[in-house]
């Protein structure tokens, strides 16, 4: 069974190249396209055939593409990666030579994202302790940077034809690599390049959503929760509703960030996007149920760590403390809360703390403005403000 003859395929390529149909070439040079599955496209040495149909420079691209398919067919991802990498480098040169035109950008989008996907596969396939993890992805990132430079340097062309419009797609690919290999510091110059770009608003919405998702995550890791909230909210609201998987991914980061800032997600949303794991957590935090909180942390530890939100979810415990202390305050109905009472509550919920540690927790809450009041060490009392001793978290700056 075959898809279409190779000759036909090559004719399509030839025609599309001549008519500068970047989108079509992009479709047909993707390793994710249907044709990639068929054996008649998986050629180790397609040069002879390709040369009969195609002219330079597109012939080289197709040759490399077919070779890449060959190695993918053999599941030799490392070699396939090498082919794809050369393909991207070759394309970068072609792109650079194309002045005042940007019709071929779709090709770049496709081959770059293919490159990253193959690199990921190669990374998985890599065995042996001597290989440094992330090495192939780093190489892929270098390769992508090559394209990025070509695009970023194109400041002569008019707005219609500028290659700089391709920058954001590359930045997004680079983000994906950098997040995978934990090299977030490399994102900073990319963010700066995009933020200062005059085409900031003209990038396609899908790219902007992706971009904001990553920038938001980065802000979260930098403990910059306000801007993380901003970016992630934009991403969540503008993400296409059919992309449920992406919306779910955004929510995984948006929920803890929002909770830290005092916003509680509704159960409906969590159910809709299949992140119901958060619901128990929401309950635990709202009730100040530290015991449940600890249990949940242990239960979902691997999930939280896998998503990279363990440390931020861990911080929600502070909110839980605040809510617990507020309950104690409401029960005792006094402005002078004995530290012993707080300690008792903590111990009841399975926290192994002494008076000094309790005091320290309260001190930290006061320091962060989550409780208005002060501690009298001499009297072992927490004296809370008569007005609004536990201000709403959302009101904090």
């Amino acid at each position: 069974m075959s898809f279409m003859t190779l000759a036909h395929y090559l004719q399509i390529m030839d025609r599309s190249w001549r008519s500068q149909d970047g989108g079509k070439i992009a479709t047909f040079i993707s390793v994710r396209h249907e044709h990639a599955k068929y054996a008649n496209y998986q050629l180790e040495m397609p040069e002879g055939l390709v040369d009969k149909f195609l002219v330079s420079p597109v012939d080289e691209l197709v040759v490399l593409h077919l070779k890449c398919l060959y190695y993918l067919g053999k599941e030799d991802y490392l070699t396939a990666y090498q082919q794809q990498s050369t393909l991207v480098q070759t394309f970068a040169k072609i792109l650079q030579a194309q002045k005042e035109e940007n019709w071929s950008l779709p090709i770049m989008y496709t081959i770059c994202s293919d490159l990253r996907l193959i690199a990921q596969q190669a990374e998985k396939q890599k065995v042996g302790v001597n290989e440094k993890p992330g090495e192939i992805l780093e190489k892929a990132a270098e390769c992508l940077m090559g394209c990025f430079r070509v695009c970023a340097a194109d400041n002569r062309s008019g707005e219609e034809d500028t290659k700089r419009i391709g920058m954001l797609a590359l930045v997004n690919q680079l983000f994906k690599v950098y997040f995978r290999i934990n090299k977030l510091h490399l994102c900073k110059p990319l963010i700066r390049a995009i933020e200062s770009s005059p085409f900031k608003e003209s990038f396609s919405l899908s790219q902007q959503v992706t971009y904001r998702y990553f920038v938001g995550r980065k802000a979260m890791y930098d403990s910059n929760y306000k801007s993380a909230d901003e970016y992630l909210t934009y991403a969540f609201e503008n993400c296409h509703k059919a992309s449920r998987k992406n919306k779910r991914l955004i929510l995984i980061y948006l929920v803890p960030v929002k909770m830290l800032l005092g916003y509680i997600p509704s159960k409906k949303v969590l159910e809709k996007y299949d992140v119901i794991q958060f619901w128990d957590l929401v309950q635990a935090v709202c009730q100040g149920n530290l015991k449940l909180f600890d249990e949940l942390m242990e239960m979902h530890e691997s999930f939280f760590i896998k998503c990279g939100i363990y440390l931020i979810v861990d911080k929600l415990k502070i909110i839980a403390y605040r809510n617990l202390f507020r309950k104690v305050y409401l029960i005792l109905n006094t402005h002078q809360i004995p530290v012993e009472a707080l300690q008792c509550a903590l111990e009841y919920l399975g926290q192994d703390v002494d008076l000094d540690e309790t005091q320290c927790i309260v001190a930290n809450l006061i320091y962060e403005g989550k409780i208005k009041g002060y501690i009298s060490h001499q009297h072992r009392k927490v004296v809370v403000s008569k007005q609004n001793p536990f201000p709403a978290l959302t009101s904090l700056t």
Partner: protein, 719 residues
């Protein structure tokens, strides 16, 4: 197919030598104008090889050759310096070589060919492949073969239309590619470059008669011997090796005037494949090619990719397998009972008698007061008085002396071989014809270290760490010097010496605590290990030692380097102190506030590892730090196990300041200094006051026992 290309590159290289050694002198001179100081030596040194080598056609050269042989080939390359990066290395090296080698007698006269023949630019570029087939029988190939690689190669379709339009199998004279001659090279230091083969061809054809072929003078038995040696070869590596061995033998025979001896009794060279079959350990190395592939502009990207791809599939598979990997299981739990007295800890690398293998075993750091100095943790020698330590030092010295005399004996026995070994960068010494000749220095470490094929970077940023050597230096101490060229075996210490060196550093550290000295020495030990590709328990020891010393002295940078290396080393060889260093790494990331890497570590931890006292301590510290539970943080700090306390010290002040701010902001009216002292884990009031003093806090009393928090609020910004 792969082998063919690989092999061709090497044969291409061999052509080089021939070309070089047959450099025609300029008119009117007897000798080629070589760099004055070393010229005679070099010239004569090369001559015997010339005899042997001129079997191969002098078509052209390129710089593809195995860097292992750099030193050996140095003598040739310094004559054709110019673009070749290795040539420069080689030139630097030459001086040393000359010291080692006795000058050789002058060789036969060089051919008289007009010297001004320009080089072809095409062939001179390092990007060009020379695809000359290696001919075992020493006959020349029809010279068109030289230019035909692109066309002949079955898979170079993409490349071919980019290449010069060369008529396919054409008769020799017509195959000259249209080339522009280079302008004549400046005369001066640089010797004339070899004549462009294409231009010479008409003049020097047929080769055997066209120019002086010393091999013609060889006795039949020698020729037969050479043939038999090559007949044994199975792979390109074998051929390389045999060639080197033969060169050495013939050179030696020539020197000692024994060229006419009965070669039929000479044992055949011990070749790589045989040894491999015998030991079943050494894997063939096939990826040398890779380094030259990607990023090469001259190549058609298609061709480069294919070559690169092919080579890269072999990457990482051919890591020297001869390395002994007696490892202790990763994550093996040490029994850590309450009082951890330093126990004798014998590393399992075994064969050393240096006694320098006691791993640094830190003690648990229990009391706040006696944070054990590293020297307390230096294992069994810790109780040594100064005198005893000196004694031990002397012992070490003695051992070293013993060692070196022992080494010398061996050197005497195998003097010539040793010499040659040094010249050859000696990885090939193990392949020398007389099998008992393996010099002592080479007993250990990777026996055969072409090692891992090169990264697929460009040839220019060639990674020297990939070409491993075995050192011959016997110095106990050596200062660190960043390598700017290929390491020279006579500057590199073999593992045996390094073990003594490490002990020496430890001893001196215990005596003097001179960090500058220790760091310098340890860095040079690390460097020697790196260039020799030694990655075993001893390497782990060295890095652990350095990491601990750096830890104690707060050298963040060195510590980070060491712990990064250790992370990889533990993955490769394991080590009993793995968990301890995982804990240090977690704390280091807390220090650098690198939450992402903390997360990565947490992801990789197993249940057992999490219950390790050291790691669990680090995780608790992390948790307390993450949730702002200062009280817990400082309580934990005062119970820090092993050397974790030193790491926490790196950021303890940062946390103290944070907590102090927190206290001042949340406590009213006053807090006692003793409370602050206790909360901030200070050992004494004085220390606490000393810490508080710079912050212009307001005290209630003159004795400074009570801090007025409200009035001190103004000082918050100064903290």
């Amino acid at each position: 197919m792969y082998n063919a290309v690989y092999y061709d590159l090497f044969s291409g290289f061999r052509m080089t030598e021939t070309s070089v050694s047959s450099i025609p002198p300029p008119p009117g001179t007897e000798n080629p104008p070589l760099p004055p100081p070393s010229a005679p030596t070099n010239n004569s040194t090369s001559t015997p090889n010339h005899q042997q080598q001129s079997n191969w056609p002098p078509y052209y050269y390129n710089n593809y050759y195995s860097p292992q042989y750099a030193q050996f080939y140095a003598q040739y390359y310094n004559m054709m310096s110019g673009y070749n990066p290795y040539a420069y290395q080689a030139m630097n090296k030459k001086e040393d070589d000359d010291k080692i080698q006795p000058p050789l007698p002058p060789g036969p006269p060089l051919p008289n060919t007009p010297p001004s023949t320009p080089r072809s630019p095409l062939l001179n570029t390092p990007k060009q492949f020379g695809n000359i087939r290696f001919q075992l029988n020493g006959k020349r190939l029809p010279n068109h073969n030289a230019m035909m690689q692109q066309g002949n190669s079955p898979n170079s379709g993409a490349a071919k239309k980019k290449q010069l339009n060369i008529p396919k199998p054409a008769p020799p004279p017509e195959t000259m590619p249209p080339e522009l001659p280079l302008p004549p090279l400046p005369e001066g230091d640089k010797p004339p470059l070899p004549p462009t083969p294409q231009y010479d061809l008409s003049e020097i054809k047929p080769p055997q008669s066209g120019f002086n072929n010393p091999a013609d003078d060889w006795p039949e038995s020698l020729k037969d011997y050479v043939h038999r040696s090559y007949a044994k070869c199975k792979t390109a590596i074998d051929k390389n090796q045999v060639e080197i061995i033969l060169k050495g033998k013939i050179t030696q025979a020539y020197q000692s005037g024994q060229l006419n001896k009965d070669w039929s009794t000479e044992p055949l060279p011990n070749i790589h494949s045989e040894r491999q079959a015998f030991t079943g350990q050494v894997k063939p190395v096939a990826g040398q090619l890779a380094q030259f592939q990607n990023g090469k502009k001259g190549l058609s990207p298609g061709l480069g990719a294919r070559l690169g791809a092919r080579a890269s599939t072999l990457r990482g598979k051919s890591k020297s397998a001869s390395r002994s990997r007696s490892r202790s299981p990763i994550g093996k739990k040490r029994s850590k009972s309450g009082s951890r007295s330093p126990k004798r800890h014998r590393a399992s690398s075994g064969s050393s008698s240096s006694g320098g293998e006691e791993a640094f075993k830190p003690q648990i750091k229990n009391a706040k007061k006696n944070k054990g100095k590293l020297c307390d943790r230096l294992g069994p020698t810790k109780k040594l008085s100064g005198k005893a330590a000196k004694k031990q030092k002397a012992k070490a010295k003695k051992a070293n002396n013993f060692y070196s005399t022992f080494g010398q004996e061996v050197e005497e026995n195998n003097e010539i071989l040793q010499q040659r070994a040094a010249r050859f960068n000696n990885t090939k010494a193990t392949g020398s014809p007389t099998t008992q000749a393996t010099p002592i220095n080479f007993n250990k470490g990777p026996a055969f270290v072409i090692d891992k094929p090169f990264e697929d970077g460009s040839a220019m940023d060639f990674d020297w760490s990939d070409c491993h050597i075995v050192g011959t230096c016997q110095d106990l101490e050596k200062s660190f010097l960043r390598l700017t060229k290929a390491p020279d075996p006579c500057d590199v210490r073999p593992v045996e010496v390094l073990k003594l060196s490490l002990q020496n550093v430890k001893d001196k550290w215990m005596l003097k605590q001179d960090y500058f000295y220790a760091c310098d020495q340890l860095k040079s030990i690390r460097q020697d290990l790196t260039v020799q590709g030694v990655r075993n328990e001893f390497t782990v020891q060295v890095y652990e030692t350095h990491a601990r010393i750096a830890l104690e002295k707060g050298d963040h940078e060195e510590f980070n380097q060491c712990q990064t290396q250790l992370k990889m080393l533990y993955n490769e060889t394991g080590g009993p102190n793995r968990n301890e260093f995982i804990a240090y790494r977690i704390l280091y990331y807390v220090f650098t506030k690198n939450t992402l890497d903390i997360m990565t570590i947490m992801k990789s931890l197993t249940k057992e590892e999490k219950s390790d006292p050291c790691i669990s301590f680090a995780l608790k510290i992390r948790s307390a730090w993450g949730s702002g539970n200062f009280h817990k943080f400082f309580t934990l700090y005062s119970q820090a196990p092993l050397m974790t306390g030193y790491l926490v010290d790196w950021f303890i002040d940062r946390e103290r300041k944070d907590y102090l701010k927190c206290i001042i902001k949340s406590y009213r009216q006053n807090v006692t200094v003793s409370f602050v002292m206790q909360e901030l884990a200070f050992k004494s009031t004085e220390e606490c006051i000393e810490f508080l003093d710079p912050f212009s806090l307001t005290f209630v009393d003159n004795e400074k026992t009570l801090i007025d928090c409200k009035s001190s609020m103004a000082a918050l910004s100064t903290i």
